[in-house]
Amino acid sequence: MNQHHLTSAYHVEILPPKQETEKLYEDLDRFAQKYKRVMESGYCACITDNAMGNLAFQGTEMIEELHLPALENQVMIHLNTFHTKDDLHRILDACRNSGIRQLLVITGDGSDRLPRLTPSDVGADGVEAVTSVELLRYIDRAYPGDFDLGVAFNPYEPEDHEFAKLDRKIAAGASFAITQPVIERHPVVDRLLAEYPDFPVVVEAWMSKKLSLLSEAVGYEIPQDAAYDPIENLKTLHRNYPRCEVYLSILGFKTQYDLLQHVRN
């Protein structure tokens, strides 16, 4: 298992502007402001890769074109399998040249307008489609030692299947995992921490009040009846998983960001 120790208190997800935006400059400015704020806070900016199959600009090109600083251990680039081989290398080279070490390697959602890596692209001729496992193995071999490779862990999937998949990901080069959003506590995450005590795990906190969106994101129905307070949930996650860092998805920069510094106290 590759050794890796995460260092940022919070991993803050930031979505780059969508390709179809008609307010490009406004969206770029908003992205830059969020990114700089995360850098100034000492947190880690996690930039998604065509999240939910929506075409968006790449994190590395956002950093380059907007001349944003990529501070050490404060940037994580999501990378999925929906790229050409040339584009994949462009992204990886850009990360390496910018000093970005952390990658979250996922299979991804794809779209009709996105190409997909083929097995031969990543030297995985024995499989029918490239998943995060094949992509991890390829990056680990093609860029030895250059990156800390993270993977997704979904506690809502059938448990044994997910652990078997995690083992394959670790064997392929994964050095940390980020869970799907957890509400208060999840027994499968507890098992993960118990059985993989030396494997860094980042727990994802859902920062939107809308739990219905979370159901859509994880693909499983989550009970909607209870009132949901994201900040209270974040506090609970810190209590329940004190050794884990936390990944914040759909964080409200206007309403929630300033509260973060007080949450752990």
Binding site: E22, L55, M62, E65, D87, R113, E128, T131
Partner: protein
Amino acid sequence: MRIVVCVKQVPGTHDASIDPETKRIIREGIKVVINPFDTYAIEAAVQIKEQIGGEVIALSMGPSRAVTVLREGITVGADRGILLSDRAFGGSDTWATSYALARAIQKIGDVDLVICGKQAIDGDTAQVGPGIAAHLHWPQATYVMEVGEIDGASVTTKRMHEDGWDLCSLRLPAVLTVVKDINQPRVPTLKGRLAAEEQQIPIWKAEDIGADPELIGLHGSPTRVVKTNPPAGRGKKSVVLDGTVQQNVRALVHEMRQRSLI
């Protein structure tokens, strides 16, 4: 080599409604996108330019907001864009539209190749590309799945049909319409988009291209649409796996992986 790519802005929705009076799609207030087949046409043109040099010009006809599809073309490698926009073009059918586009291509001048998507997803007629060729009296190849050798004088193409493909050699200038199999359009970059945003897109009116008023708009349109219905929604498709257990599991896992379900 000067290549013109014709692109169209189409409704980006499955919920398009039809005006009962005019029998035309109501385009106001709905999300619009570049016609997906046109992205393959742009990519084909840009690949030719990268191979032998030249210029790619994106050309569209539509309301002023159609400049966005031209900017999309510039984002992925077209050098410039031109929009035909004039009330006089309103109501044009495929014949009148192809006439206007042909006039614009003549005005651009020295064009060696015109490339269109095989059809637009709103009208589904596949007539505009061939219409341009007819108005210009240029040779054409439709349903092109591969562009082979090309130089200043001729182009070789594979033309797809139900039973395979035909190898066609056309003298230039010529018109091609392309299918999805021809390439994988590149993903737009921020650098390209920023460059496209900076470009001024000229807007040409009917008189700018010397169009005969009797040949554009409703006057110039021989087609009368008698009745139009929105398409029936696509229902869920069932697939029966009737191989051995091993084959079925393999096929199911493959399908689920293709859809990123596992």
